[in-house]
């Protein structure tokens, strides 16, 4: 399992967080779980990079935080996408797709 994991390129984590939050507001642990699940354990987000990223995104105003009650009935800090965050997600996702397509094309070149 461990050898299937890959490190996230710089900036990709932000994109993944935004995408995760686009579905619904989540707390930090759930975000990392969700990313791990959806990527079938390929992407594993370390707390050491997750939380700084969350705080950075919050500072930029792309996400906002509020305290809520978690699924296990505890106080947790939930993050939600803001309007600017949503726009940012669109541009970033677009750029990412273009980039990955282009990279794939180059790599698949006969």
């Amino acid at each position: 399992m461990a050898e299937d994991r890959i490190d996230l390129p710089q900036g990709t984590l932000d994109l993944l967080i935004l995408k995760t939050l686009a579905l619904e507001p989540q707390h930090g642990w759930a975000i990392s779980e969700r990313i791990q699940q959806i990527s079938r354990d390929v992407l594993q987000v370390q707390q050491g990079s997750l939380y700084p990223a969350l705080h950075r995104l919050e500072r930029r105003g792309w996400i906002k935080a509020h305290w809520g009650v978690s699924e296990n009935n505890r106080k947790a800090k939930y993050y939600a996408l803001t309007r600017t965050g949503r726009k940012q997600l669109e541009t970033d996702a677009d750029a990412w797709r273009k980039l990955s397509t282009a990279v794939a094309q180059v790599l698949d070149m006969a």
């Binding site: 779980e33 919050e58 500072r59 296990n72 800090k77």
Partner: protein, 893 residues
Amino acid sequence: MLTDLLHRLRALVRRKTVERELNDELRFHFDRQVEKYVEAGITRDEAIRRSRMEFGGIESVKEECREARGVMAIETTVQDLRYAVRTLRKSPAFSVIAAVTLALGIGANTAIFSVVEAVMLRALPYRDPGRLVRFEGDAPHGSGIESGVDSSVTYGDFAAWKSQSLAFEDMAAYYRPGGYARVTLTGGEPETVQGGFVSAEFFPLMGVSPMVGRWFTSEEVNERERVVVLSQGLWMRRFGGSRDAIGNSLEIDGERARVIGVMPVTFQFPNRDVQFWMPVSTNRSWGEMVPPDTEHSRGYWARWYVVGRLKSGVTIERAQAEMNAIHERLQREAPDPNRLSNMRVVPLRVELSENTRLAIYVLFAAVCCVLLIACSNVANLVLARGAGREREMAVRTALGAGRGRLVRQLFTESAVLALFSGGLGLLAATLGIRALVAYAPADIYRLDEAGIDSGVLGFAMGVSLLAAILFGLAPAWTIARASANEALKSGARGGTGTAGMARTRGLLVVVEFALSVLLLTGAGLLVRSFLAVEAVDPGFRPERVLTMNVAMPGGTSDARRHEVDEQTLARVRAIPGVQAVGAIDGLFDVQPRDFGVRAIDGRAAESRTKWAPLTWTSIRGDYMHAMGARLLRGRLFTELDGPDSPLVAVIDESMARRYWPNEDRVGKRIKGFDQRGKDDDWVTVIGVVEDMRRHGREQKLAAHVYEWYKQSGARTPDLVVRTAGDPKALAGTLRNVVRGLDRTAILSPVMTLEQELSDQLAPRRFQTCLLTLFSLMAVMLASVGIYGVMHYSVAQRTHEIGVRMALGARPENVVRMVIGQGISLAATGLGAGMAGAWWLTRLLGSLLFGVTATDPVTFGTVAVLLTLVAILASAIPALRAARVDPMTALRCD
């Protein structure tokens, strides 16, 4: 952008809340992870263990979150500040020593800077002073001006410039300081003062309004109206600062002048001696404006200084180009041998003598050296303490603090220390400035305005921060670089200090010594110069001699003046205890100018190019005996040498050497330009006296021709009285006797000749004392530095020394080893310093007298002295090392 800012602000202002939230958030994540593992069927303990492993360093996660929040910079600074203050308070000995050391350096720097600022940097108190210029040029050779650069022009040239130039808004002329600008004030206690005789354009040009009344109009200047604008000082002295002064009158040179205004205290143009301003046309020399006489020296005709105001937007260069053209045209159309050979346009600034400027630069460089030494000393202390803090740093690194973070924290400590020291230094500077102003010789213009203002405050602050960078950064880097692992592994509580750190500390001591050598050599050279100046034989015996100047108010008849001079001598001679009394025209106040004699019997006339300093002076009574001058050949004047007998002169050796180097001078005949020279009579030399350096022992000798008062008709206002006993006991009597003779006479304070000579040396004494003081500070700091390094090194090597002694090393071997180490550090610094001093002392230039810049005696003394200091400073740690008990040393861990 706004959210960003608000976010940062909230994080900053509600630091505690934000911090708690971060804690809660991470805690929740951790608990949730544990829960997940437990749900998956892992035991609780194992779940916690695994979660912890995954989580990694919680502190570093927090740290990164804080950073991500973007308040790091401010918040950590606050944190570091608190931490710094706490750390500094925890080690008071270190903090006090460091603060005092730095405060000395910063204080000295600030004090000298305040002088630099007041004297050199601060804008002159005139309207738009940047556009004000003055003019100077090189004197044509043989024009009677000794120094090559001069500013005086003829009134005719001034008028021509004014009408022909386009680059200037206006120009104004004023009578050059001294000479006819010195006048007597009568009514009340009579005094001689310097007046400003200025053209009509002057006040509008300078753009400073009178604080009371008005300035004079061009009509008043043209009409030669005797109207006067007072300086604030004169206004206070004569009128008690009352507004009634306006319309009142003042007696200047015996004639009434009507007061029309008072200038503010800051207005001191052309210098601070000037007590009042009057129309140029009211000066008593105004009537002597006759066409140029090429035979006379230019000093006689060109007596006007000019200030100009550039039109806005006109550069100095453009004005200069225009002046060149005008000057050339004048030379072509109206040639005048007394005109300066060129004309330079110079921004108006405080004019400092070359020596004063140089002295200020030297002193400023000196205090910078002192500060550098103080900084390296403190850097050394920080390093020594840093060695003890290695474990603290290692622990912090292990807990997740980055190296940059550690450097920043250490640097904050330095900055706090430096700013605190800066505060102390400012206090020291305040006292220092007061002392400087009080003890400085009076000849430095605007020095009394030195003080702490915003500029000086900013400087002190800047210097403190610079000091923090200097003494803080290197140690911070060295300490933070020291490997965390090493420090943690070595069990020693104090840490061992890495080799790199020891090298840095050694290097700092070397630098301190090198700088001390520079300062001490400079100071040594100045001290030697001072002693050399003092050792110069003035050519007369100044012990037990009193002097006093007896001036008569303007308007006194020549007959009355001579009567007063004659009676003064007679009455003073009658005072019991007086051995000899004489008088001279200008005892100290002589500026020997380049002159020649008009004719020498039996020889061709001397060309102007051969001219050299020469002075004609009239004497009266027993002047030569009163001064204690030795007659080398021939005879002195007697009362038989009268106006109708053949003209005679006594000359000095310089004069004799100049014209008759290899023959008997007595009986030779000359014709001069001055006084008697106006008649075409030969003057016969009757005697030769020793050279007398009346105008200062540092000045080069000037040839003197002494004339007898009866023949020259000149006044002899300077009284010289040789007494049998203590001269001061007679001072009061002397004054009373002369005062009793004439109520209107203007008497200077009675001085002893020794005091006058000593006053001539005041600037040199002051510079020498200050530089010596700074260099002693430097040496003291450097010796503390070397002591600190040796002390620390011995403490570090207690164990090693113990082993050596257990193996049979004797105490004297240990002492020799430690002292040897100290000396080798000092010697390296000494070598570097000597090399530097060899290059730099030549910059002292004109401050040196009688020694070369590479004087071997000075260099040798400095080397010996500093070696001794190094030995003494390492002796105490060495003796301590020798007392190490091998048993204890080996046992301690």
